[in-house]
Amino acid sequence: MAFLDFVPNLGRQVLLTIPNLGAAARFLLRSLVAVINRHFSIQQLLKQVYGFGVRSLLLMMVAAFFTGMVLGFQGYYALVRFGATSALGTLVALSLLRELGPVLTALLFAGRAGSALTAEISSMKATEQLSAMEMMAVNPFAWVVAPRLWAGIIVVPILCAIFDLVGIFGGYLISVPVLGVDGGTFWAQMQSNVTFSGDILTGLFKALCFGLVVTWIAAWQGYAAQPTAEGVGNATTRSVVTASLAVLGLDFILTALLFT
C-alpha cells in the first residue's frame, strides 16, 4: 500500500511545486523591474548595502582568514611529498578565487543576512506592514523587496573579493613565516598562474549569481511565509536550507560552464 501511495504523492508534490516555482520566478521579475518604479529609493538601497555588507564584514574576514590558513596547511602537506611547495601560492589562490571564496561567502551570507532578510519580510507580512504599504499606494516590491535584492547582488561579489584577499593573506601567513616556504616563490608562482579574467572575474561572477539566488530565495521565503509566528520560523529555516543547497547545486553548474 505504501508503494501505491508513493506515486500519487510524488505527483501531488510535483503539481504543488511547479506553480510555486512559477510564482517565485514572477516574484523575482517584479522585484528586479521595481528598480524603475518611482518608489524605489537609493537611500533604502544604501541602507541595505550597509546592513548586508558592513555588518557581515567581520564574520567574512574571520572565516576567510581561517580558511586560508587551513588551505596553507593542507596544501603544504600534499605538496611537500612531491617537493612542489613552490606551487603553494597558486594552490591557495586558485582554491579561494575559483571555489571556496564564492561558495563560502554565499553560504555565510545565506546564514547571516539571508535568514535575517526572510525573518524581516515575513514579520512585516505577519504584522500587516506590507498590506499597509499597499493601502498607502506604495509598491512594497519597490520599497521593501527591490532594494534588498539589489543590495544582495551588489554586496556578495564585494564580500567575496574581500574573502579572497583575506584568505590569501591567511594562507601566506601559514605558508611563509610558519612553514618556511619561500615568500618570493609563493607570490611569483601565484602571479604567473592566476589569470584576471579566467580566475578572478569568473569567481566574482559566480559570487554575483550566488548573491542573486540567495537573496531571491530569502526574500521569496519571507514573502510567501504563513503570517504566523510558526510561519516566520519555518520560513527562516527553509530560507537557509534552500539557499545553501541552491548555492552548492548552482556552483556545480557554473563550474562546469565556466571552467571547462
Binding site: T127, Q129, A132, M136, A137, V138
Partner: protein, 274 residues
C-alpha cells in the same frame, strides 16, 4: 440612504479555493456616512474591505468606488485611487523601524516632494488631532496598544482621504482607548468630509457612531439599516449576533458525524477522526 453612493457593490462573488466567502453581496455606501459591517469571525468582512480597496478582485460582480469600476482599472489606476483611501489595520501595522512621526510622514514622503517644514506641520497636525503630538519621537515598541492604534489612525488620515476603512479598530483595547478611538472615528470622518467603513464585533461602540449598518452571514447580507432598525430586525441570525447569544441559527456545536454517546463509548483514540 438617499445620498450619492461613494462605494457600490453589485452581486459580488468571491471564494478562496473551493470555499465561497461572499455569495452575491449587494451594498451601497453613501458619501459622508459611517457604515458598519458586522458578522461572525471569518465571515468575509475583512475580505470585503480588501475588495473595496482593490487588493483583491472578485470572481464576479461589480465594485464601483467614486464612480470608477475597480475591475476596469489597471494597476496604476488602482494605486491612484488608493491615494485617496486610508485604512486602520487591526494590529495598527506601524512600521517598526520608524518613529511615530516618520510613520505618519511615510505616505506624504512617498507621494509628494514637500518642504520639510510643511511636512512637519502636516504630520504634527494629524498627531495633535489624535492627541499624540507629544509622542511623535517614540518608536512603535514604546507605544501602548491604544496609542499605537491612534498613531496608525493619524497615518491613515494624513493624506486627507475620501474613504477610510477601519478593520476591527476596537479589538484588544481597554475601555478608555475604545472610547477615544470611537470618538476620533466620528470626529475625523466629519472634519475631513470623508466616508468611513467600519468592520467590528463591538456592537455597542459601533452603533454609537455608525449611521448605517450591514450584517453579513453565510456570505450574504442578512440585515441592513440604521442601528435602531437593526436592533429591531426580525432576522433570527441578526438577533443572535447583536444579542451575543451562544446558540441559535449559528450553532454552538461544530457538526460531528455520530452522536455524543457513541463517541464516548467508541474505541477511537483521542484526536482521531470519528
Amino acid at each position: 440612504m438617499a445620498a450619492e453612493a461613494l462605494v457600490e457593490l453589485e452581486n459580488v462573488h468571491f471564494s478562496r479555493g473551493p470555499h465561497p466567502v461572499l455569495a452575491g453581496v449587494d451594498m451601497r455606501i453613501p458619501r459622508g456616512a459611517i457604515v458598519s459591517l458586522m458578522g461572525a469571525s471569518g465571515g468575509g468582512k475583512t475580505t470585503m474591505l480588501n475588495l473595496m480597496a482593490g487588493t483583491l478582485a472578485p470572481q464576479s460582480g461589480r465594485i464601483r468606488v467614486a464612480g470608477q469600476d475597480l475591475q476596469t482599472l489597471d494597476f496604476e489606476g488602482v494605486y491612484r485611487l488608493r491615494r485617496r483611501m486610508g485604512m486602520l489595520f487591526q494590529h495598527s501595522a506601524l512600521f517598526t523601524d520608524f518613529s511615530a512621526f516618520e510613520n505618519v510622514a511615510f505616505p506624504l514622503r512617498r507621494h509628494f516632494r514637500l518642504d520639510e517644514s510643511i511636512l512637519r506641520k502636516l504630520v504634527l497636525m494629524k498627531l495633535e488631532a489624535v492627541g499624540l503630538r507629544g509622542a511623535a519621537g517614540l518608536m512603535p515598541a514604546e507605544l501602548s496598544g491604544g496609542m499605537g492604534r491612534r498613531v496608525a489612525l493619524a497615518r491613515a488620515v494624513v493624506m486627507d482621504p475620501m474613504l477610510i476603512f477601519y478593520d476591527e479598530p476596537f479589538t484588544g483595547l481597554d475601555p478608555i482607548s475604545v472610547g477615544i478611538i470611537a470618538t476620533l472615528i466620528r470626529r475625523l470622518n466629519d472634519a475631513l468630509g470623508a466616508t468611513s467603513i467600519l468592520v467590528s464585533h463591538d456592537v455597542q461602540e459601533t452603533f454609537s457612531i455608525a449611521d448605517y449598518g450591514y450584517i453579513l452571514a453565510g456570505g450574504k447580507i442578512i440585515a441592513e439599516g440604521s442601528p435602531e432598525a437593526l436592533r429591531a430586525s426580525d432576522s433570527e441570525l441578526a438577533r443572535q449576533f447583536l444579542g451575543g447569544q451562544p446558540d441559535g441559527p449559528v450553532p454552538f456545536h461544530y457538526p460531528a458525524r455520530d452522536n455524543y454517546a457513541t463517541a464516548l463509548t467508541g474505541s477511537a483514540a483521542a484526536g482521531e477522526v470519528i
